[in-house]
């Protein structure tokens, strides 16, 4: 049987790709995978060349008021697209909740904020792909990034009394031979936290080590997540300590599985 996103014809979605600055500079493969995946799923994808950063690093350090220029640039770049999709829950949350109000652009800003989506959210809620079908014969651990999970509610939160759900895990459900492990602490923070990673270096590293050992004690081959920033932090610690585990963004796994 053909997967339902190939069976049902649909009007072509025009999507603008927002690639967070650190992914642009350090993880171009994650950006390429996101682009290819969206195209395989029938979207017409553009990458507006004037994009820079969402402003989160400054705002989370207490300088939201100094991000008006960055925010204005973001609105100008993306205001004319139907959808804006980013492979990062954290940046999307920032755009939705913490970009400062830009005077005389209130309406445009509101519209931009309402049409920006994290990748798994876009696949699930807008494209409604259900699950992705393909094959990926590996044992993986999924790291639920906090901003995606508790900010955008991409998956249920272990603190709340609610029915369990996870948009990423639903997408994985149709992939053959992909084994997803159940972690001991389902959704604890990895300790990245933006500038926290350097201002509270000791804590940040300890949190990362603890998160890694949860994954490693379940013998995962690959740690996967929807936010490359968390993965960069965990990978940095794993490599320093010669721990044998690979890191892949959700987009990379879905893109590989589907082909």
């Amino acid at each position: 049987m053909r997967p339902n996103y190939l069976v049902q014809p649909r009007s072509i979605m025009e999507v603008a790709l927002f690639i967070p600055c650190y992914i642009d500079q350090f993880y171009p493969d994650v950006a390429k995978a996101t682009l290819e995946l969206l195209e395989k799923l029938g979207c017409k994808v553009s990458y507006p060349m004037d994009q820079t950063c969402c402003g989160q690093p400054m705002a989370n350090s207490g300088f939201e008021r100094d991000t008006d220029g960055t925010t204005r640039q973001f609105i100008e770049t993306f205001k004319n697209f139907d959808y804006i999709v980013a492979p990062s829950g954290s940046c999307v949350l920032h755009i939705k909740e913490h970009q400062p109000a830009i005077s005389e652009q209130e309406e445009e800003q509101k519209t931009v904020q309402s049409k920006v989506y994290e990748l798994s959210e876009f696949l699930t809620d807008v494209l409604k792909v259900g699950t992705i079908e393909g094959s990926f014969p590996h044992k993986i651990g999924f790291h639920s990034s906090c901003h995606g999970q508790r900010g955008l509610r991409l998956s249920s939160s272990s603190e709340l009394n609610e029915a369990p759900f996870s948009k990423a895990k639903d997408l994985f459900a149709g992939i053959k031979d992909l084994e997803l492990v159940e972690l001991s602490r389902k959704d604890e923070c990895c300790g990245f936290g933006g500038t926290f990673a350097v201002s509270e270096e000791a804590l940040s590293v300890q949190m990362g080590k603890d998160r890694l050992s949860d994954h490693l004690s379940h013998q995962v081959e690959i740690i996967c997540g929807g936010d490359t920033s968390c993965l960069m932090h965990l990978q940095g610690i794993a490599e320093r300590n010669n721990q044998p585990v690979k890191f892949m963004h959700l987009a990379e796994i879905l893109n590989q599985a589907i082909s």
């Binding site: 820079t52 960055t70 009394n161 990673a197 201002s199």
Partner: protein, 452 residues
């Protein structure tokens, strides 16, 4: 001392820090089980949050009603605008009663007001009767957690303290043995005290009564044996009606320890014949916090401690790393309201993971307030090199060309500089972490070549 250096200190003993993390995680898991046994848990949180919002919006009205009804019940009501006034009121009552020894059950407010050292200076023996509090009192330490005051200590530590202070057998770590020794020791103190001090968990204007929740029954023991009961409460501790208690008592213990209810929930309404009850209503900065639109709902807190147990930072840095009476996430949004300079590192002691807000039984948006305090603190600090670099970053991200050039420069320098320069001691990232491998081109460069 700043939070980062205190945390680094705590983490030096990696084994003990790991034990601390596991111990508090165990409490968090008990809380998860207890809260998930109640289908209407989220509904209860919503109701409790709504009731507290309502109380804060009419606090003046409810406080006056409380004063009136409590006075009619025979309770003597006092008003204290700050810690000093609070301590003076307590001292004046003790002087009048010629009381030189008091027993106290757990009250974070009296910690906040530094009542113990104030009274000790005046020759009064203060005995904290909560077991955990008595233990930290022996060490001359404040509580490291608002519900579990001695959670940072292990059985072995307590055995040593008791051996020194209560002459228990050296090396005997049996919890039952140690608890019995404490019980015997405290019994003598209870019998001798003419005045007992307690905190207040909930005050009810409708009936003019207040409720004190403990697990050990120490508040009741102290109060019933003494002639005078002094109850100290922050003015935010109000719930309008006795009927509302059903919501809060169900939330409190489950959130705090995973118990379905605290063992003793004692209502105090009128003094017994020949006895006195004093109720001190303390502001100490609360009305100031109430005026701050973004931060006022921090006053909804019912002091369950759940945000501490869930916080990945608190669990790995310990209560003392915060240097404030109330530690952890809730402390980090309350303390800057008291002294923004002294507590300036606390709102940054978070990854903004949001677990505290999801665990909070009265739905305080703790992590959002941490973010908002960061904005206030950088304003209060004025000029800084960090501020300047943020302004420069904004300049770079405003201009696509400047972004492109600086990104290229950054990647080029990371690729070409020797490792000893990249991993120098000033580079906090690289101390215990590798940097990502530097790609030969950015996505933007690739896209330009291949797609446009």
């Amino acid at each position: 001392m700043s939070h980062p250096s205190q945390a680094a200190n705590f983490l030096k003993d990696e084994k003990r820090a790991h034990w601390h993390d596991e111990t508090l995680w165990f409490v968090r898991e008990k809380r998860d089980i207890a809260s998930k046994n109640i289908p209407e848990w989220e509904e209860l949180r919503k109701l409790a949050s709504g009731i507290k919002d309502h109380v804060l919006s009419k606090l003046d009205y409810y406080l006056e009603e409380l004063e009136q009804k409590a006075s009619a019940n025979g309770i003597k009501v006092h008003w204290a605008k700050d810690a000093e006034e609070h301590n003076e009121i307590v001292w004046s009552i003790l002087k009048e009663k010629k009381c030189k020894a008091i027993v106290k059950s757990k009250s974070i407010l009296t910690e906040e007001c530094h009542l113990n050292p104030y009274l000790e200076k005046r020759g009064v023996e203060v005995v904290d009767t909560d077991l955990g509090e008595r233990i930290v009192q022996f060490l001359k330490q404040p509580p490291s957690h608002i519900v579990l005051p001695a959670i940072h200590l292990k059985k072995g530590d307590i055995s040593e303290i008791f051996h020194e202070k209560l002459q228990t057998e050296k090396g005997n770590e049996d919890p039952v043995y140690l608890t019995h020794a404490a019980r015997k020791h405290l019994r003598d103190k209870f019998m001798a005290a003419k005045v007992a001090i307690t905190g207040v968990n909930f005050a009810i204007p409708e009936t003019g009564e207040f409720v004190v929740c403990t697990n050990e029954g120490n508040a009741d023991m102290g109060v019933h044996l003494a002639d005078v009961h002094i109850a100290c409460m922050g003015i935010e501790k109000i719930i309008p009606r006795r009927a509302d208690l059903g919501i809060f008592l169900r939330l409190l213990a489950r959130s705090a320890t995973g118990q379905s209810i605290t063992n003793y929930n004692s209502h105090f309404r009128s003094p017994a014949p020949g006895k006195e009850i004093h109720l001190i209503l303390v502001d100490n900065g609360r009305t100031k916090q109430l005026k701050r639109e973004k931060f006022k709902n921090s006053l909804k807190c019912i002091r369950c401690g759940a945000c501490m147990n869930t916080c990945p930072i608190y669990r790995r840095s310990g209560g003392y790393s915060y240097g404030s009476t109330v530690p952890g996430p809730i402390g980090s949004i309350l303390s800057p309201g008291i002294d923004v300079k002294k507590y300036s590192t606390l709102p940054f002691a978070s990854t903004l993971c949001g677990s505290c807000s999801d665990v909070c039984p009265v739905k305080i948006n703790i992590h959002e307030q941490l973010y908002e305090w960061r904005q206030e603190i950088t304003k209060a600090q004025g000029w800084s090199t960090k501020g300047l670099s943020m302004k420069m970053a904004n300049g770079i991200f405003t201009s696509p060309l400047a972004y492109k050039i600086s990104g290229k420069l950054l990647r080029a320098s990371l690729k070409n500089l020797p490792k000893s320069v990249i991993y120098n001691p000033l580079n906090a990232w690289g101390k215990n972490r590798d940097l990502p491998e530097v790609p030969k081109e950015s996505f933007k460069e690739w896209y330009l070549k291949n797609r446009s």
